[in-house]
Every structure is written in C-alpha cells, then in structure tokens.
Amino acid sequence: MSEANDKVNVQIDGEWHQFPKGTRMIEACRLAGKEIPHYCYHPKLSSPGNCRMCLVEMGMPPRPRPGEDPPKPDKDGHLPIQWIPRPAISCANTIAEGMGIRTDSQLTNECRHGVMEFLLINHPLDCPICDQAGECRLQEFSVEFGTGGSRFREKKVKKPKNVDIGPRIRLDDERCIMCSRCIRFCQEVADDDVLGFTDRGSHTVLGVHPGKELSNNYGLNTVDICPVGALTSNDFRFQMRVWFLKETNSICTSCGRGCNIIAGAREDKLYRLTPRDNNEVNSSWMCDYGRLNFHFLTSEARLTDPMILEHRAHRIARWSEAVGRAAEKLKEFDASKIAIIASGRMTNEELFMARRLGETLGIEKIAIVPRSGEADDYLVSADKNPNTRGARLILGKKVDKQLKEIAAGVKKGTITALIALDENLLKCGFEEDTLKKLDLLISSHILANPTASLSHVVFPSTATVAEKRGTMINRTGRLQRLNQAIDPPGQAMDLWEILRDLAQALGGSNGVYLLEDVFKLMAGTIKEFEGLSLGKIGDQGLPLLKPKESIPLLERERERIEKGIIVG
C-alpha cells in the first residue's frame, strides 16, 4: 500500500505511467521518453518558469458537481481526463494522480510555435558566426518548432554586443533569450551575484553591475548552460565549429576532485573541456582553472623524443635505444642505491608499473611528490595531485614521507641513481648541485625542464589530460577512468608503457602488452581492485575507498534537492 502511495499515475500521450510523487511534469515526460523543449529549466537550478517553452496541454479527472455522479474509472482503474484549455508549464509543476499530459497535441504545438516566434523577433540570427551554432537550443528548437519564416517587419531592438563581462567570458546581449540560467547559477551555485537584467521589457539587457565582473572560478559554467550563444568563452570562441569536435568522456586531473569532463578534440588537437554530469563528484560543473589547464599540451617546450646525454649534450634517440641505454645503466647499480620518484599525477596503472619495476630490481625507496594548495568551498580540493589516493594504495602509505629521505640520501651519496617520473625534482626539495652528483638520472617529462636537462636519459611522456587511458582514485575514494582523446605528439608515450619497456629490458618479457593487462595484474595483486576491469568502472566511476572529505558544493545541492528547490 505504502509503495502504491508514493507512486502517481500519469497519462502521457495516451499511455499510463507511474512516477514517484513530487516528480516534475517535465521529468516525468523525459522518463517516458518524451523530451519537452525548454530553455530556463535546469535540473540543478531553481525553476522560475520564465521562458514558457515547456508549455504542455494538461488535464485532470473531472470533479463532479454537487448531485452529479463521480466519474467512472475504466477497466484499468484510470479515471477519464478532462483536458484544460489553458496550457501549463511542465518545468515548475509537479505531477498529480490521474493527470494527463499531451506533449504533441495541437495546443502544445501552437504554444511552442508562439514562443519560438517571440524569441526570434529580436534575435540577430547570426548563426553563421555564432559559436553556439550546432549546440544551440534556439537553433534546434527553431528547426523542430519554428515556422521557417518571420512575420516581423519592424526594426529589431539593438543591444550591446561583444561585452567583456569578465576575464574569461564575453556576452552578446542580442543573442540572449533572457532565460536567467546564468544569473541563477551565479546566485545559487557560485554565490557570486553579479549578473542581472536591467531595463526589463522589450529592451531587457543582461549584464554585470557597472564596475563589477564575472570573474569567479566557476564562471565558465554559465557559458555551458547558456542555451544560446549569448555567453561565450574567450578561450574557445571562434576556435572550432562544435560539430567537428570528437567528444571523449574523461576526468579533469588538475586536482584531487577528478571532475568528470568531456574532452572536445579534432585531428589530435584538444579544443575544450566541458563538465560532464556526475552527481557523486562534480554535479554538472567544473572550475575554470581545471577547464583551461590544457594549453600546455601544445607548448613549445613539449618533449617529443627520447634523449640521451652524450658528451654533455642531449641527442635525440630512438625509443628502443633510449630504453636499452636506461636498462643497461640501471644494471650497474645495487638496488639499495636506486630510488624512484613517482608522481601523484600518474594513473593507477602507471603507478602499478612503477611498483613492478621497483620489485623487479628490488628498489625499496619510492616516493611521490605531494602537492597541496588551497581548497575552495565548492569543488576544488586542497590536494593538487589527482591521484594521491591511488599512489598510497598502490605504492603504500610510505610514499609521502620518503621524498625527504631520498633527497637526503642523494645529498649524502647513499643514493646514486634516480628514476624521476613526470616530476621536476628541482621543485620538490632537490638542488641542482646534488642532482649533478648522481651517477644516473633517468627521467620522464611532458615539458622540458631543468631536471630533464640534468638527466642521462629522458623519456617524453603523455599528459593525463586527454592523452592517455587509465584510472585514478579521487579524494572521495572514487575510482574513475581517463580516456584518450588525442594522440600524443612525436614519440611520447604513457608512463606505463615506458615502465613496461624498461622492465622488459631489465628482466625479460612479462606478459604485459596492453593497459588491460596492467589492470588485470593490478586486480590480481591489490585486493581493493579485485574483480574489477576497466570496462566495469564505466563512465561514472565506482566508489572504491572510504571518502576522506565531503564535497561542499554537492552538500549544498543535496540540501536544495531535499527542500524541493531543485530537481538535482
């Protein structure tokens, strides 16, 4: 009985469905496979119901007048529906028992036509030069619900164009359809109430208050949720047509949060990162810092080939030659004299291969470089390494402490060979003079840096953002997948490949060829990974370890869901 009570019967386009009590009409329709066009509604924001695009025809069981017989249910127990001549917005209204919704009736379609016609009256229709074209709600719904021609013969209202509303965002007011999503995002999610509508009426203008700017670290999310091309990202505008972008699901690796993202690339060039929904990690948002932290991929300093130090100068080497040289040199050392500096930016698979290399050679000193900074009260974690928890799980908790010991060992001369993986040692407690004392320094880097300059063998490695596959564990213990969106430049390789080749050259073939093989080995060795495979992790990740912190932004969102302010 109680279960039946929590469910509400609703007829959508002639078919009866059951939905939980309190479901918004628009969400019920979506669950029934009927997408309702909408602009202002966003499940993570409040619903002002201002665009009217989501109007539908609605009905309820008739209420008998005094003396009249109550309506009779049909053979399935459903009451007849009395259709209401006035349409209702489906975004802000919740379903009720016996409700009927028509998403494709004459009334509904007329409403959509009407709303589209009004929205287009003052719209500049500059799709050919608009960045949003191809992912524009106005464009899409025009095709579906527009009339194809305009009856408007009057002059369009002129509004501000190309307005700098902050360091990263530009506004075209003529394109704005006044849905207020951006305003609500700033008020409700980013707590930075700087946007607003002035001169409301036919001249409504969206803007920032004079002297203020939209500069908070989450501002670019407004560009994503703007259904039209009114808000554009300075970084992305005019760079690439969105329909050329190949989209790859991955995660941001700029901090320990691991926000889920979509990487948009074309022909091995990454053009943008946008947030991907994950209600356990980043909701629908990401920070601007993480979003824009990929331009180093095409930096002039990018290493593209292995290098060997000969006669005090580096020369480019073939991959096999560099691996051979590194292995040959390593063999000259007693394991107790070798240390490995790994990185909290490495994937689990790469860390696991570092551990295997250590085991093959009997190396006991292995560390990672901690990177701590400031957390904000939203998503950004104080841990600037994306995979500290993976490193601790795979290499052991000692990795945090060993860095100092290794640095001291190098100084004292007890450690004479060092393998540094994607870390610039001069930035983490090593001095140039001490490094020069080393008999062997093998390192991998994405960009040229002073450590690379001092190394005997240098391997070019790939970037976590968009260039490699693998997994990481974020601060809240979630195991998540990185996917490769673009091919790395030149001979650059993933660290697990570099380490695989090195281990093979040192100890012979070990049956590891693919990333899947590494994961399988890892799943067989570390109990937390038992029974898992890359495929099982899926696009939303899996909870693997105990969360060690909560995510402030998500906490607040959950409160708003509870209060019914947002759908979530």
Partner: protein
C-alpha cells in the same frame, strides 16, 4: 553619498516593516532617497544594496525596471505625459511637443535608456509615461505630484505658467 540623518532614520524605520526579508524594503527605501535627492544615483544604488545586504545589481534591476525611478536629475518641475493609447489618440504627442517648445526642452537625445530631457534653465524636465489611469480624460500628465486632465496641447503654456 551623504544621506541626512533624518532620511536615514526614515529609511531604517521603513525597513522595520519587512521583518521577514529586508529585500522587500528595496522599493520604499529607493522612494525615500529619490524624494530627497530627486533621482537615484549609482552611488545610491550601492548604498541601498549595502543597507539591505544585497548586491548592487539586485537594486539596479529594480531602478531600471520601474519608470517611477529616475537615474538622472530632473528639473524643478518634472512633467510626465501619458502616451498610452487613449491619451495618444487624444493628442499626447502634440502635447509633448508643445510643452517642450514652451519650456525650451530639447528631446533629441532622449532614448529608451535616457528618457528624461531637462530645460536649459533646469526648471522643467519631461518624459513620456505609460498609462496614468485616467483614460477617459486624455491627454493627461503629471507635474511633480499634480495631476492634470484633458490638457489641450494649445494650452500648454498656461499649464506651465502655474509653475512660475
């Protein structure tokens, strides 16, 4: 901005009428300031926002929405001529023209965002208003708080003379 003590006291008192949310006091507070200063300056917008623990944009939205709030200084006598349908048909545009002629007001710079024009001597200012709620007796206008009905455009000078 210098808000005199007694005006601030009046404003503080007005705010007490809205115990649930100070935000609701925004309109009365703005009226108090406009009554005193004649119009709402950018500084005033910020002052009100600070007073009500809001962001300035929240106040600017109101000030730019309600035609009753002015963002530029009016003349000593501020005239508002109704231009909604009934009055327009009864000649409010002509009335506007005549009033401007008589008071020496140049409206060529007027726009949606700057609706008010002021006479050279600063005595009169003028703007169009929407319905002033006397459609049967158009054209109508307000001069400060005085309401004038069925004002014949030809008699615009007579109307102005009352405010010498």
């Amino acid at each position: 901005m210098n808000v005199p003590k007694e005006i601030e006291a009046e404003i503080d008192e007005r705010i007490t009428h809205y115990p649930v949310s100070k935000r609701s006091a925004a309109l009365p507070v703005l009226h108090s300031l406009q009554e005193h200063f004649g119009y709402v300056t950018e500084e005033a917008v910020e002052w009100v926002a600070a007073k009500l623990d809001l962001e300035p944009i929240n106040i600017l939205e109101l000030v730019t929405f309600y035609p009753g709030f002015r963002q530029s200084a009016p003349g000593k006598y501020h005239i508002r001529v109704c231009r909604t349908l009934s009055c327009a048909m009864e000649g409010s545009y002509e009335l506007m023209e005549k009033l401007c002629q008589e008071a020496k007001i140049d409206r060529s710079e007027v726009s949606h965002h700057h609706p008010i024009a002021v006479s050279e001597d600063g005595k009169f200012s003028i703007e169009f208003a929407e319905c002033l709620a006397s459609c049967g007796t158009g054209p109508v206008c307000l001069v400060n708080d005085d309401f004038h009905e069925a004002v014949e455009p030809a008699k615009a000078d007579k109307l102005l003379k009352q405010y010498d």
